[in-house]
């Protein structure tokens, strides 16, 4: 009896840490940054950070969903790049095509990933690794390796717009996506199934959850969000390029993990991922502001990821 109580207690502490430990880290980081360089707290700089994290933030939210089910999606970068190419490539067919095209592509690509993973029982890592190469190749073929220049005038507000003349519209999109997905996760059966699948797929199946279908939808959602991020990217840079998303999957995974999402699946929150992406974004910004050489930056960022995972491991051990 006492044991059970202990477990409950440490679980409670664990969740507490998961939620607020990272928030604490973020606050500490924030204070350190403002002490080190006065430039950091300038509104212009903070708004820059908000914009810099928005695109990768949206991708990270999709990634978090996938990781919650115990999977991984390595193909988000190329899906994003294809989305960006489509925005630029479909502009002659009108703004609806240029906007909907990338979303449909992202959704289909994601659904396809999910279908292969569930129906043929292949490791998500392998399927999406293959998909990563396929979509990069598709993008290069579609664009013949050249950038496609120019996006529809009317869509450019998505990537370049500023609300009240200052707040990047991208940031508002990011926050909206985060809130919507967080609500879905918390208050809908779909959300509960997502956690259940990651926690224990067998039990979920036995309790009547259509595990395959939920998993396919999750990958679809991840692809859809990557496609959406591609629209923002293309309209921001006013160009589509096949290699725009290079390395993005790693940043997205890092954001989720720093934010406390367990790679084993079943535990993690959107809130955590938002904190994770803020930590990464603020860190890069700071390292740039104080002129740290980029090689050292890479070491530093890697360390943060490892440390976050180690801390998470401590928590996992206690709660299991």
């Amino acid at each position: 009896m006492e044991e059970i109580n202990n477990k409950k207690n440490s679980m409670h502490l664990g969740t507490y840490f998961e939620k607020y430990g990272m928030l604490l880290l973020l606050l500490v980081l924030f204070v350190i940054c403002s002490l080190i360089t006065p430039v950091f707290l300038k509104p212009g700089n903070l708004l820059n950070i908000a914009r810099q994290i928005s695109i990768i933030g949206i991708v990270s939210i999709g990634m978090t969903l996938v990781i919650l089910t115990g999977g991984i999606d390595l193909s988000v970068g190329p899906i994003l790049a294809c989305g960006a190419l489509l925005v630029a490539g479909l502009k002659e067919y009108g703004i609806v095509a240029a906007f909907v095209g990338p979303l449909i592509f992202g959704l289909c690509a994601g659904l396809l990933n999910g279908t292969v993973i569930t129906k043929f029982k292949v490791q998500p890592f392998i399927v999406t690794l293959g998909a990563m190469s396929i979509y990069t190749g598709l993008g290069l073929t579609y664009s013949k390796g050249h950038p496609i220049i120019g996006t529809p005038e009317m869509l450019r507000f998505i990537g370049q717009g500023k609300v009240f003349g200052v707040i990047p519209f991208q940031a508002i999109l990011f926050i909206s996506v985060a809130i919507i997905i967080a609500i879905i996760l918390k208050y809908t059966p779909f959300g509960r199934y997502t956690y259940a699948i990651g926690g224990n797929p067998e039990a979920s199946k036995l309790s009547g959850i259509n595990v395959d279908r939920v998993t396919i939808y999750i990958y679809g959602l991840s692809g859809l969000l990557a496609g959406f991020a591609g629209i923002i990217m293309a309209t921001h840079l006013n160009v589509g390029e096949a290699r725009l998303g290079t390395g993005m999957e790693m940043d997205a995974i890092a954001a989720a993990v720093i934010g406390g999402t367990s790679l084993k699946g079943g535990s993690g929150t959107i809130f955590g991922t938002v904190i994770g992406i803020l930590v990464i974004g603020i860190l890069s910004n700071l390292l740039n502001l104080i002129n740290v050489p980029s090689y050292a930056q890479m070491i530093f960022k890697g360390l943060i990821i490892v440390v976050a995972t180690v801390l998470q491991g401590l928590h996992d051990k206690k709660s299991v």
């Binding site: 502490l13 840490f17 430990g21 604490l24 880290l25 500490v28 980081l29 350190i32 080190i36 430039v39 300038k42 212009g44 700089n45 820059n48 914009r51 810099q52 695109i55 990768i56 290069l140 664009s143 013949k144 390796g145 050249h146 950038p147 220049i149 370049q160 990217m233 921001h236 840079l237 006013n238 160009v239 390029e241 725009l244 290079t246 390395g247 993005m248 890069s284 910004n285 700071l286 390292l287 740039n288 502001l289 104080i290 002129n291 740290v292 050489p293 980029s294 090689y295 050292a296 890479m298 530093f300 360390l303 440390v307 180690v310 801390l311 401590l314 928590h315």
Partner: protein
């Protein structure tokens, strides 16, 4: 308790790392009339880019009132844009940009221009922007030169301008590669008996070039290749490695372009026929930047001339990087 300790440890780690970084910066804001130049490079994983950065830093160190802050895009447009934004936050007087493709950067560069901060390209020229100047070698011109050299060598070898050649391009779509390869092809187009039997991407890197050359050697038996042109030095070295591996070194002439130290060594060893110096434009670029900051006129395109290195002059030549 453990958790609190671990959080504390993490804070200490961050503080110490940031402390290390911070100390590097201490020299920059001592003077009042400080000029700050921002340097944005697409990456720092190639000796060309590293040398260029070192040259600029070295040139700047001679001016006590000039400091250079630098970011590198780690080969991602997104990161390069973020780096430029971060430098703008700190306040820079001029921006030097090195990128092989500016399409993704154009939007940001236009903003930089609108904010009244002059920018220029260094090392690789990119047209169609508001750049004050571009300080670089001219790749298209080099391509032409190499095309003419190929014709010359094949004529010597086969008695007439004919033969089968292999070309290794860099990253498909990259302007540098397009110009270096395209320039040579423009010349070769006049010689119908010179056939390009393979044109493949070696991504500018040695391992990739090694792999594709291996495949090409498999597909083309001895005596069927008359010339190999790799459009940068790293790839030329990869090609030589593949030839050695297949025991076919010396069967065909190989030329590179860049003039890095190892290429010169390969020329001395008789493995590489020739290379052209492609010099990083750090010193020249910095001079142009200072002129712009002093309000002097600079030309729209400052070309640094190329130079062929072969067995005859290799002993008296300095590598480009």
């Amino acid at each position: 308790m453990k958790k609190i300790i671990s959080i504390l440890l993490m804070c200490v780690l961050i503080l110490s790392m940031v402390g290390c970084g911070g100390s590097q910066d201490s020299s920059s804001d001592t003077e009042e009339e400080q000029i700050v130049i921002g340097l944005s490079q697409e990456g720092l994983d190639h000796p060309f880019m590293v040398t260029q950065r070192e040259q600029i830093m070295d040139a700047a160190s001679k001016y006590p009132n000039v400091s250079v802050i630098a970011t590198d895009g780690q080969n991602s447009v997104v990161k390069q844009v973020a780096g430029i934004e971060d430098m703008l936050s700190q306040g820079i007087d001029l921006l030097m940009v090195q990128a092989s493709k500016a399409e993704g950067l154009k939007q940001k560069l236009t903003e930089v221009h609108e904010q009244g901060i002059p920018f220029m390209f260094v090392g690789k020229p990119i047209s169609g922007t508001e750049a004050v100047t571009m300080v670089s070698m001219d790749n298209l011109d080099l391509g032409h030169t190499i095309g003419e050299y190929i014709v010359e060598v094949l004529t010597d070898r086969n008695g007439a301008p004919k033969g089968n050649i292999v070309m290794l391009e860099g990253i498909p779509g990259d302007q540098t590669s397009e110009d270096r390869i395209g320039g040579a092809k423009e010349i070769l187009a006049d010689y119908p008996d010179i056939k390009i039997i393979a044109q493949v991407a070696g991504e500018y890197r040695r391992p990739e070039a090694f792999n594709v050359m291996q495949d090409i050697l498999q597909a083309n038996p001895e005596g069927t290749i008359d010339f190999v042109y790799a459009c940068n030095g790293e790839m030329a070295l990869g090609v030589i490695q593949a030839l050695k591996d297949a025991g076919r070194l010396g069967e065909m002439p190989v030329v590179g372009l860049d003039g890095q130290k190892e290429e010169l060594d390969a020329i001395k060893a008789g493995e590489l026929m020739a290379t052209w110096l492609y010099k990083p434009a750090g010193y020249e670029g910095f001079d142009a930047a200072m002129k712009i900051l002093n309000g002097e006129e600079v030309e729209e395109f400052i070309i640094i001339p190329g130079q062929r290195i072969d067995a005859e002059n290799v002993d008296v030549s300095e590598p480009a990087f």
